[in-house]
Symmetry: C2
Subunit: 158 residues, 2 copies
DNA sequence: TATTGTTATACTCTATAACTATA
DNA sequence: TATAGTTATAGAGTATAACAATA
């Protein structure tokens, strides 16, 4: 198989990420959310109530960034902070009623998008698409793990 | 087909975008680039020399943002500004030698990634994956165009 | 001692608005 | 008048470092 076809496919993947990002930003803006805050809310949907430390880990940002994001989400009424009963250093972030309603809108939007993207895709194409996704994600995970390893050995070398 | 499979596929697409972003950020950081600056450089690869106005249009950001990005890229030696010979208001952004070398590294990385992602994907799976991408991108374009239209009519209604 | 979250500070990206120079 | 790019200003997101409270 010529490399051209692979490069075209990867170009399409990148275009897809651009278009999805554009769609998401538009919809989130209408809900009064940014992508970073929506990402936190999305994780909270399954993790709440959870500590800011946990959020920092799953979002792959610093605790400082979580403080800022939770500040914003609390000011706009999506979440509240509560003291953690078992660890007085920690605070638990929970969804308000508005926060629950908003994550539900996000879930509905997600399902709706899935339906609109795939509803009239031929079954055999869908199967190949899904298998391809699994394959590509697996490859990418391997690559990232390898980079991670290289980075840490490089650091150790200093 | 049950909606579950569509939702799982969309989840995988989102995961893929996350992983690709992580990989890109890591590689770009090593080159002394951010994603925004790399995006501008990537467009410059085919457009240079071009005006900042053109860059603002293709990057979908304001002229002000382009000024800031070009400032940063010029300071770090990737691009230079030159007066536009046909329009004295405009400036042409061109790639320096370092800029050319860097975009070449980016292209090589892109090709390398395509190879690593698809090299041992069965041909029939690849075909389905690629067809699926085309289908999904087409749907998404339609959706975005519809949202765009709604937004402008809503605005006109005021 | 290690961990949780904060304050202090700074950098990048982006936007709007007002302005200059040019078309 | 309209356009290209800038300055001024502001807000969001993120990072590092120093610190307080707690484990």
């Amino acid at each position: 198989m010529p490399d051209d076809r692979w490069e075209n496919a990867l170009s399409r993947v990148l275009e897809l990420t651009l278009l999805l990002g554009r769609d998401a930003t538009e919809n989130l803006t209408r809900m009064g959310l940014t992508e970073a805050r929506a990402h936190l809310l999305w994780e909270l949907r399954t993790l709440a109530p959870c500590t800011q430390r946990e959020l920092a880990t799953v979002l792959r940002v610093t605790p400082r960034a979580v403080t800022a994001l939770v500040d914003g989400l609390a000011e706009t009424g999506f979440v509240t902070r509560e003291p953690c009963p078992t660890d007085r250093r920690a605070t638990l972030v929970t969804l308000t009623e508005q926060g629950h309603a908003t994550t539900q809108v996000m879930v509905d939007g997600f399902r709706n998008l899935a339906r609109q993207l795939f509803t009239d895709m031929p079954a055999d194409v869908f199967d190949g698409f899904d298998d391809g996704l699994i394959h590509v994600i697996s490859r990418l995970r391997t690559l990232l793990a390898r980079n991670q390893q290289e980075a840490s050995t490089t650091q150790a070398g200093h």
